[in-house]
Amino acid sequence: MNKVIEFIQQPWPWWVSGPLIAYVMFSLLYFGKGFGLSTNFKTVCNILGADKLSDFFKFDWRDQIWNLMFIAGAIVGGFIAAHYLTPSQVVDISPKTIADLQAIGIAHPGATYEPPEIFSPENVWSLRSMIFLLLGGFFVGFGTRYANGCTSGHAISGLSNLQKWSLVAVVGFFIGGLAMTHLILPYLMKI
């Protein structure tokens, strides 16, 4: 049993994780549901009363209870992984990424899952962190609803179903991600 836990506690390689994600998608399809995480933001809007302001939010949120249960599980899964299955928080990223990020002001790239310069509770109320977290989150919510899907709906489910428009959306994901990483991020780090 200890051997099994030690085995699980190592970082999992990509070729284990990818097929397992496809298995999760298949499990949802088998129980009559579609793999789509960003839909939960829309459900929260409905529950908070946005259905009174726009027809876009008019639907029965009870049809999405399964998805809210799924994200509740995902939060618990993250907690279990962090506290019981990950003795080392080091993320073994490429030396080139470490050098690039040190050059823009991140002291120890890969020493933890998240850079403390942005995400630690002491730094989080700074203007810079608010831009990364609140505005970044805003873009995630706005963009996924505009494109009607995120990584789970477009990149995984859509491409698996050979959907042309999902490929277009994924190209968009990279236009935005590359522009932010290479053109804008160095300036945000100077704030």
Binding site: S17, N40, T86, V140, G143, L159
Partner: protein, 137 residues
């Protein structure tokens, strides 16, 4: 309780994405700098396996747990919505280092700090809903 299976699948999903470091801001930076196969390997093997799974479902006319034919949703057509929406999401993905699934997982993994981008995402979704009729799709 019929929802418990989705809760358990969610736990599995959270553990998979945590253990393979997909939720790490550094892994997303590495991806957008093309400096490792890691994220491309995760998404690539998920899609290749997914294609096989969906082809199998379609060719065998597989039924779901309730005995209905499994329907795989077709995505919405349109250049502006997919390119512009995708680009806006991509900006946010590189900033938060997380797409929607990982944003939830990170609340359990890292703590309350990740409630802030979730609030932002709900505000963004709400704003889209209010502006929708004025945007090109």
């Amino acid at each position: 309780m019929k929802y418990i299976r989705f809760f358990i699948m969610g736990i599995l999903f959270g553990v998979i994405l945590s253990k393979s470091e997909v939720i790490s801001w550094f892994r997303i930076q590495e991806m957008f700098r093309f400096q490792s196969i890691h994220m491309y390997g995760v998404i690539g093997t998920a899609v290749i396996t997914g294609i096989l799974v969906i082809q199998f479902i379609k060719r065998t006319k597989m039924k779901d747990a309730q005995g209905q034919f499994i329907q795989v949703v077709e995505q919405e057509p349109g250049w502006p919505r997919n390119i512009l929406g995708g680009t806006i999401f991509g900006l946010g993905w590189a900033m938060t280092g997380a797409c929607p699934g990982p944003l939830f997982i990170l609340v359990g993994h890292q703590g309350w700090v990740f409630l802030i981008p979730l609030v932002g995402a709900v505000l963004g979704t709400f704003t889209y809903g209010m502006l929708r009729s004025k945007l090109p799709h």
